[in-house]
């Protein structure tokens, strides 16, 4: 019996006494792409951070392929993109990727780093310091950082927000490759159109609860706001 790629049961997250997430249970089988949608403050980022092991839930369990996300094995299999690009301004693109390759104990850090610089179109600026990069370049580097250790599970928090065209194209290509390779993606988003293109499943989160969770349908692709109008609050 295979463990689901990402599974959480009975998740509650408290900030002090206030429940930001109430009794969230989700199961995402391997190879699926879940679009997590919801209004600001609904709990998308909180949930993603708990799934990724960045925060601890007040109650409930999370498992990544059957393991607690904080376990070393699980951490190797998780890749994430948060609100910040999570690369160092004072280091070059190559140095950054080499650093993360080493932290993830990849066998050939240098080669992997260069490979991902090529895939994200940053090969020519590999020795440039990140603080001199344009916004689009920074985000492409963030994608490289997230994917370079070959994670099986990708947790992306609003990855398409404020990307330029080239970065959007890079991200979509990388995501399609990842999904084709059997990876699992959970992506929170406001950009309904891009999300619906890639998603296989959709979940709506509102006021800390899951209001809807199901497969992506034709209607959703045609009218990305369909879920909101049927399951969201006014």
């Amino acid at each position: 019996m295979n463990a689901a790629a990402v599974e959480c049961a009975g998740i509650w997250k408290f900030y002090g006494d206030y429940p930001a997430l109430r009794d969230i249970s989700l199961k995402v089988p391997q190879g699926r792409c879940l679009a997590l949608i919801g209004r600001n403050g609904a709990g998308k980022t909180t949930l993603l951070r708990i799934l990724g092991g960045f925060s601890k839930a007040g109650k409930g369990q999370v498992s990544i392929f059957g393991q607690n996300p904080r376990e070393t094995g699980a951490r190797r299999r998780i890749g994430f993109i948060g609100h910040g690009i999570a690369v160092y301004d004072e280091l070059s693109a190559l140095e950054n990727l080499r650093l993360f390759a080493r932290l993830y104990q990849l066998p050939d850090a240098e080669r992997t780093a260069r490979e991902w610089l090529e895939r994200t179109g940053l090969e020519r600026v590999r020795d440039g310091l990140v603080r001199e990069f344009s916004r689009g370049m920074r985000q492409r580097l963030a994608v490289a950082r997230a994917f370079l250790h070959g994670p099986s599970v990708l947790l992306l928090d609003e990855p398409f927000t404020a990307l330029d065209d080239r970065a959007v194209a890079v991200l979509q290509t990388v995501l399609r490759d990842a999904l084709a390779g059997g990876r699992t993606v959970i992506m929170s988003t406001h950009q309904l159109r891009e999300a619906m293109e890639l998603a296989t499943d959709v979940a709506l989160i509102g006021r800390g609860r899951i209001a809807f969770h199901g497969e992506r349908t034709e209607e959703m692709v045609n009218d990305p706001a369909w879920v909101y109008s049927h399951y969201g609050e006014a």
């Binding site: 408290f14 900030y15 002090g16 006494d17 206030y18 006021r207």
Partner: protein, 221 residues
């Protein structure tokens, strides 16, 4: 709680009477009586710091906020008792030696402990998010209160190796019947400590409830 308060009050009154009735000590005159409050205040504060340390560790293990509430209540009350210790020590020093402060091992250690307690409270005040506040405060208190015995011994070593020009013997001859009063005062102050801690605990729980209601309102509107 009322019972404890009453008991504390009774003991204190009895002790005050006994203390005032004691004959003047030969060397020190009236002021020696202050020791009946000076020493118990410190003793009780030290026990309090040990309990606070325990509460902090328990919080980190169980993540139950009631331990966090206990830790902060005990530390705040302990701060007050340590202040009593420092002030009475200072008054005593002024009367006996003519100086408001002397760098003797016990007073110095007490001052440093007071500063560590105060640091704990300042840290708490600077952290807004309750879970982070409780966790970080607990970590700080483990560091700070592990330091307390080290502070005490290091300062004692320093004063042993480099004795101060002024010698003093706080523990001169201490008649047996006084010991009873001293011990009873320790009990009385302990009860007072417990009562104040309970008051503070109640206030802490009410505060948490208010925070909860506030956040719920924000979420609904």
């Amino acid at each position: 709680m009322i019972v404890m308060l009453a008991l504390a009050a009774v003991l204190l009154v009895r002790n005050l009477y006994n203390i005032s009735v004691l004959p003047d000590e030969t060397n020190q005159g009236q002021i020696f009586r202050i020791i009946f409050f000076h020493v118990p205040a410190a003793a009780v504060a030290m026990v309090g710091s040990a309990v606070a340390l325990l509460a902090s560790v328990m919080f980190l293990i169980t993540k139950n906020f009631k331990y966090d509430a206990l830790a902060v209540a005990i530390t705040e009350v302990g701060l007050a008792f340590l202040a009593v210790n420092l002030v009475t020590g200072s008054i005593w020093a002024r009367v006996i030696w003519g100086v408001w402060w002397a760098w003797d091992p016990r007073l110095t250690s007490a001052l440093i402990c007071w500063i560590l307690y105060a640091g704990y409270l300042i840290l708490r005040q600077s952290l807004e998010e309750p879970t982070q506040r409780a966790t970080f405060a607990a970590v700080y208190s483990i560091f700070a209160f592990t330091d307390v015995p080290i502070v005490y011994f290091s300062i004692r070593w320093w004063r042993t190796i480099h004795p101060q020009p002024v010698f003093f013997s706080k523990n001169g001859s201490f008649p047996a019947d006084w010991t009873l009063t001293l011990v009873l005062n320790i009990v009385a102050l302990s009860l007072l400590y417990a009562v104040l801690t309970m008051v503070r605990l109640r206030q802490e729980n009410t505060q948490r409830e208010i925070d909860y209601l506030r956040r719920t309102v924000h979420a609904i509107s």
